[in-house]
Symmetry: C2
Subunit: 448 residues, 2 copies
C-alpha cells in the first residue's frame, strides 16, 4: 500500500485508539489528529472520582499526553484545533486553530470522525446560569471541581438518576454537600426495570440523598448569573450546584452538514467496518451507531468500552485490514457507595417495545456462602425468550462483589445461550469467591 | 408414571441435589438416602476456613440437617448407614447400620451412586500415624480442628501444592503454625502452567511458607503413634501435623464389584443423562466421569459445583425428564491470603498431550484503572488454537478482584469463541470495577 494520510477528528478514546492502531499497522502513513479541547486521551469516566477527591490529581486521568503521541508514535495530535467543515469532494477539512483564531484546510486520504457526544442541556429558563454543569469532557469535570473550590456550596441538585447522576451523587456526598436528585421516572436508573430500580432508589435515600421521583424540571432560578434554585412541577429546591445527568447527544452536526447519513439517535450511520455513507470517511465512538446483538437494531451507546473497540476496528480497516465490529449487548455497570449495579441485554420495556415475548425470574441470593465473612446480598433478575428459553437480558443490584458477574451473562447472551445452557456453565467456585451455585445460575435454574 | 422408589448412596452435594430434584418432580415417590458419615449436605470446601477460625461454628457449614430433609421434603435420609453391596439383578442394596452394627437389604427401582471421592494416601511408612490428615468429608475437617485444639502443635507440613494444599497453608498460617509445603513439581499449582505457578510459589514464600519444590515424600517419622517428622528424598522436616493434598480418588469399589463400568481415573462411566452401564443405576458427583468440552475426553473432576449440577441432571432424568449434562471446561479458583488464582480450559501440558497446536499470550495489567484506589496487579495467560484462533484455556494470578474474571472466559470457551470474538465482547466497565479494556480482553487483543 502506498503512503496515505489519515485525519482524525477528536482525540479521545475512539480517535486515539484508531490512530494508534493505524500507526502499528502502517509505519509510513501520515496521521493527524485534531482535538478541539485542551486534553486528549483521558479517562472521562474517572471524573466523578476526581470530583469526589478519591483521585488526587487530574493528571492521573490523562492516559497519554499529546507530546507522547507525537514522540513515541509519530502521531501529529493537535489540541485546541476544531474541525468546522468537511469537504468530502476535495477530501479536505477546514480547521480552526482556537488559540490563534486562524483557519486552514487540511487534506486527507481517509477521515475518521470521532467527535464524541455532549450532555443534553434542556432548553429551560436559567439554563445558562453559572453552576450548572453537564459532564462529558475532562474539561467539564475540571470546571465542576473548580467551581466547588471557588464557591462555598451547600446544596447540589442532580437532574437525572442515570449513571452520571448516581456517580455524581456519591461524589458530592463525599464532598459533604446536601445532595438532592430529581428524576421524571418512578425510580432511578431507568435502564433497569422499575422493580430493580426501586432497590437503588431505596438505598439512595438510606445514604442521605433527597430523592424526588416522578418529578419534572421546569426551570432554574439564578442571582447575579449564578444558579440559586431549581423549580420543578411540584416545588422549588435550593441549588447552588446543578449536575445535568439526562443523557448525551452524539456530536454529529459536522457530519450532517457534510451530507453523511445519520441513524439511531442522530448518530452517524456506520456499517460493521465503521464506514459511513461517504467514501473514505469513517466514524467511531460516541458519535456513531452500534448494532445491538439482541434487539438486532442500530443503537447509539456512549461508553468508553465501545469507543475503544470502535476505534480499534476502524484502525484495522483504515489500514487495509478487514475487521468487523460484532456489536453490543448493552452492558453497563456502576456503583453508589456500597451498592453495585449492572445490566446487560434488554429490559422489560425494551422487550415490550420490540414485541418479544419473555419470561422473568428474580432471585435474592448471596455473593458468597453464608458462612464466609463478607457474604453480601445480591438481587438478580433474568429475562429469557418465552419460546426458546434464550437469554435476553439481566440486571444485578447488590453489595460488594455482586455487579461484575454481569460479564458472564453478557458473554452468554452474545453466544445466544439459553437459561439451561447458562445454568450448567462450568463457573468457578470457592468460598472466598462464590456460593456453589453462582447467583446468576440460581436465577437461570428457576426457569428449568 | 407409577410410584417408584429411589435409593441414593451418599448424602452430600450430588446425592442430595438429585434427591431434592426428584422430590420436586415426583411428589409420591419413596426416596431413601444412605450416608455412611455423620453429616450430610455440607460445604466441604468451607473446611479450610473453619480450621483457620474464620467460620465460627462447624454447624454453619451444614446446609441442611437430616431432620429437615425428612420433615420438609419427605426424603428418608439415614446417616451412619453404609451401603456395602449392590445387587443389580434383584435391584437391591445391602446396607450396614454403623451404629447398631446390623445389616439389611433395601430394594430400589432406581439407584443413584453418589459416593464421592477420598484423598489419596500414599503407601509409605508411618502413613497411619496420628496427625496425618487428608481433607474431604466434613468429619476430616473436624478431626484436624480437634487435633490442633488438643495438641500443642508447632510445625505443619503440607504434602502437595494444589487447591487443598494452598488453602490449608493459609488456614494454618492463620493459626500461627510454622507452615512447610512439599511438592514434587518445579512449582506449586500444577493445574497452572509453570510460568504462572512460579508467581504463586514466589508469593507463598513471601508470606512465610517454607516451600520445598522438586522434592518427594519418602516416609513419615513417628513417636508413640503420632507423626513427628517427614522424610523427603533430600531432607528430614519436623512435623507434628501433616495435611495430604495430593489429589483424590473416586470412591468406586462398590460400583466395580457390582460390575458397573469404570472410566477415567476409575470414576464411574456415565453418559450425558448420568446413566451407568447397568440399567436403573445412575451416578453423579465426585465418583463419576464428566465430559471435557475442550479436550473432548472423559475426565473426573471432584468439585462441588460439578457435583451439584450432576445431581440436578440425574434427578431430572430419574424423574422421567430428559436433561443432559453438557460437560465441564475445567474451571477452578482459589486464593491464598491476598493472592487470587484461577484457571479454565486446558493448560500447555494438557494441549501438548493432546497434540493440539496452540499459541499463548501473557500480559500483566491492573484490576482497575491505575488512578482508582485499590487497583491491583493481575497476570493473565491465554491459550488459543493455532489454526482457528479459538480459545482453549486461560489462567489468572493477581490480587483483589482478579480471579473471578475467569468465569467470562469459561463461558466464552464453552461457546467456542475465538480470541477475536472475546476481545470485542461487550463487557462491563466503570472505574470501580475494571479498566476500560478488561485484562482478559487485553490478553485476547494481543493475538489480533
Amino acid at each position: 500500500m502506498t503512503k496515505r494520510k489519515l485525519v482524525v477528528i477528536g482525540g479521545d478514546a475512539a480517535g486515539m485508539s484508531a490512530a494508534s492502531k493505524v500507526r502499528r499497522m502502517q509505519n509510513e502513513w501520515e496521521i493527524v489528529v485534531f482535538e478541539r479541547g485542551q486534553y486528549a486521551s483521558y479517562a472521562a469516566c474517572g471524573m466523578p472520582y476526581y470530583i469526589a477527591g478519591m483521585v488526587k490529581s487530574a493528571d492521573q486521568l490523562i492516559a497519554r499526553k499529546p507530546e507522547e503521541f507525537r514522540e513515541k508514535q509519530n502521531i501529529d495530535l493537535r489540541i485546541l484545533h476544531e474541525v468546522v467543515e468537511i469537504d468530502s469532494d476535495k477530501k479536505r477539512v477546514r480547521v480552526r486553530n482556537l488559540k490563534k483564531e486562524s483557519e486552514f484546510w487540511e487534506s486527507y486520504d481517509d477521515l475518521l470522525i470521532a467527535t464524541g457526544a455532549s450532555p443534553v442541556r434542556p432548553e429551560v429558563a436559567g439554563i445558562d446560569s453559572k453552576g450548572i454543569f453537564g459532564l462529558s469532557s475532562l474539561q467539564s469535570g475540571l470546571d465542576v471541581f473548580e467551581y466547588m473550590r471557588d464557591h462555598r456550596l451547600k446544596n447540589a441538585v442532580i437532574v437525572g438518576g442515570g449513571y452520571i447522576g448516581i456517580e455524581m451523587a456519591e461524589a458530592l456526598l463525599e464532598r459533604n454537600l446536601k445532595v438532592t436528585m430529581l428524576d421524571m421516572a418512578p425510580e432511578v436508573m431507568t435502564t433497569m426495570d422499575p422493580d430493580m430500580g426501586k432497590l437503588i432508589s431505596k438505598y439512595m435515600r438510606e445514604i442521605g440523598v433527597d430523592l424526588y421521583l416522578n418529578e419534572k424540571l421546569d426551570h432554574f432560578e439564578f442571582k447575579m448569573g449564578k444558579v440559586t434554585g431549581i423549580v420543578t412541577d411540584k416545588r422549588t429546591l435550593d441549588a447552588n450546584l446543578v449536575i445535568l445527568g439526562i443523557g448525551t447527544r452524539p456530536n454529529t452536526s459536522l457530519a450532517l452538514k457534510a451530507g453523511i447519513a445519520l441513524g439511531a439517535k442522530d448518530a452517524i450511520r456506520i456499517n460493521k467496518k465503521m464506514e459511513t455513507s461517504v467514501a473514505n470517511i469513517w466514524a467511531a465512538g460516541d458519535c456513531a451507531e452500534s448494532f445491538h446483538l439482541v434487539s438486532k437494531q442500530q443503537v447509539n451507546i456512549a461508553l468508553g468500552t465501545v469507543a475503544n473497540k470502535h476505534g480499534l476496528i476502524a484502525g484495522e480497516n483504515i489500514s487495509g485490514g478487514s475487521g468487523e465490529f460484532p456489536g453490543v449487548v448493552g452492558t453497563a455497570i456502576t456503583k453508589i457507595k456500597d451498592l453495585e449495579i449492572s445490566r446487560t441485554g434488554l429490559n422489560e420495556k425494551e422487550l415490550k417495545d420490540l414485541c418479544i415475548p419473555y419470561k422473568t425470574s428474580t432471585i435474592i441470593s448471596s455473593t458468597l456462602p453464608g458462612y464466609y465473612p463478607g457474604a453480601a446480598e445480591i438481587s438478580v433478575k433474568l429475562l429469557i425468550e418465552k419460546t426458546s428459553g434464550r437469554l435476553l437480558g439481566g440486571q444485578i443490584v447488590g453489595k460488594h462483589g455482586a455487579a461484575k458477574r454481569i460479564d458472564t451473562l453478557a458473554t452468554a447472551i452474545t453466544a445466544r445461550m439459553t437459561a439451561r445452557d447458562f445454568a450448567f456453565l462450568d463457573l468457578s467456585y470457592a468460598p472466598p469467591f462464590s456460593p456453589v451455585w453462582d447467583p446468576l445460575q440460581i436465577a437461570a435454574r428457576t426457569f428449568l
